[in-house]
Amino acid sequence: MAVNILEVKDLKIGFEQDKKDIAIVNGVSLQLEKGKTLGIVGESGCGKSMTSLSLMGLLPSGVDWQNGDIYIDQMQINKKSKKEWRNVRGKKIAMIFQEPMSSLNPVYKVGSQIVEMILSHEHISKKEALQRAVDMLQLVGIPRPERVVNEYPHQLSGGMRQRVMIAMALACGPEILIADEPTTALDVTIQAQILELMKDLQEKLQMSIIIITHDLGVVAEICERVVVMYAGEIVEEATVLDLFNHPLHPYTQGLLNSLPDIETEQEYLPSIEGVVPAPADMPAGCRFFDRCEYATGKCKNKPNLFTTNIGSTVRCWLYESGELIGGM
């Protein structure tokens, strides 16, 4: 029986502008199974990073939590005080960011940054903590870890810095790792190394991972389930195979089609016309309405998430009956 280690229910995040509430994440619900990898895909501004920050209790000021509950291991965490949040972060759930240089402190040695993190959660001696830091660096495949602990972030390459970030995130044995675009700033050969490392560590440590990315290649590589977000809403959720074999939502289909593929030859790439609407003037009905080639009058009403007969859920009126259409 699959156990959900993380559950998010009806999350709504927004800000106030001209006395109007503007939602940037609108009614997002997620389930993460223990030991599995969930991908959240979407383009810039779709709310994927805000969703992940809210899971860490790290929403920037000016952005409000408006609704929703988060449970880790059946324990509700969003009602916790700032101090209690600190015990959750790092211990239960940890995060790595896109840009490893700006998330490491440039004036402290790599080792002392990892030690600081360990000591704030565990009552062990500094020496033990430093030894743990060296072990962690070894675990993430850094050569000569006992020397790297005494180096500064600028002395390391991008791939090494991302390994340090992963070592730091895993130092207190969190059950959930959130990776926000972990390979976007890296070159392809280094990206391949980091993805291999994450798969490896997941197996060794039995971690559950949420990976946030705009890159469907990364999703194909590492995820088991995928959530597609568009303009602050989930538009589709499926297993990774179903998503690639039967993409349902017109937006998901558009995304997959617009990727150049080295196996095929195309004169022109299919593209999705137009741009994502601004948060302040979202269409009242389906948010993809303006860009959708299948749009009908019905789409002026907001669609629900419909469950289809293959098990995927999709927010589109085309699938109201739950049947797949047109063999897609």
Partner: protein, 318 residues
Amino acid sequence: MVSPLLEVKHLKKYFNLKGSRADYLKAVDDISFTVNEGEVLGIVGESGCGKSTMGKTLIQLLTPTEGEILLNGENIANLSPKKVREKRRDMQIIFQDPFSSLNPRMKVYKIIEEPLVNFKIGTKEERKQRVYEVAKQVGLTQKQLDRFPHEFSGGQRQRIGIARALVSNPKLIIADEPVSALDVSIQSQVLNIMKDLKKEMNLTYIFISHDLSVVHHFCDRIGVMYLGKLVEVADKHELFSNPKHPYTKALLSALPKSHPSRKKERIVLRGDVPNPANPPSGCTFHTRCPNCMDICTVTPPTLKRMGEKHDVSCLLYE
């Protein structure tokens, strides 16, 4: 026989490093290639391999240290700054970051018109017609020309950058990572526009990118760079179906799968790209090469012809 539009011979760009152990950083080190009219040449490589420096050197935003750049048979390397400016009428550049490459204080109309003013082309009225024409080609409305860059999204800004590059009717466009700052759905829009414009204006592109699948889609011929050197040049199909250089093989295998059920043999390269200020001896790739031989640590390889239109720089094939 088609005569090449651009011929680059032994191009070098070294940066002086004062106070460090090495004297020079060899960002572009002895690169030669040709581009025929109407062709799209892709240049791929990882960050720090010198591909952007090469683009900027070609258009002489950086002065080359050595070598020749022949545009239509005429050497434009080391011309006087004034003469170089005239030559830029024929070759223009599109930059990666559509946010920092547009002057935030200029209206879009002025931005697109500027090259025409610079090259003293046409009267005010003629320039206006030309700006409107180009704007229409890249999908901008006349109304939008009266706005400032910050009012546009990334994809639209890149269209402005393209319009500015094309307004003086150049023959050669150097596109330096033109779509890497854009979302996938916008990326395909911009690539399609660039393809249309190529046909309409008979353009030649040098397309610099780190993204192999984009290069595969867009280019006819591809050059692979590693630490300032071209290690392999071949037709697109040849390069993807029959890669020769171990680095090219590793790059291709590192591409993420396009479908989760597709199996992939992966060559994971050890370590990182070495510091370009202190490159390894012999073949610069030998520190990461899975096929490294003893000789590779001593003798630097040169680009050799391997088959029809396929050049490789690797001692395995000597």
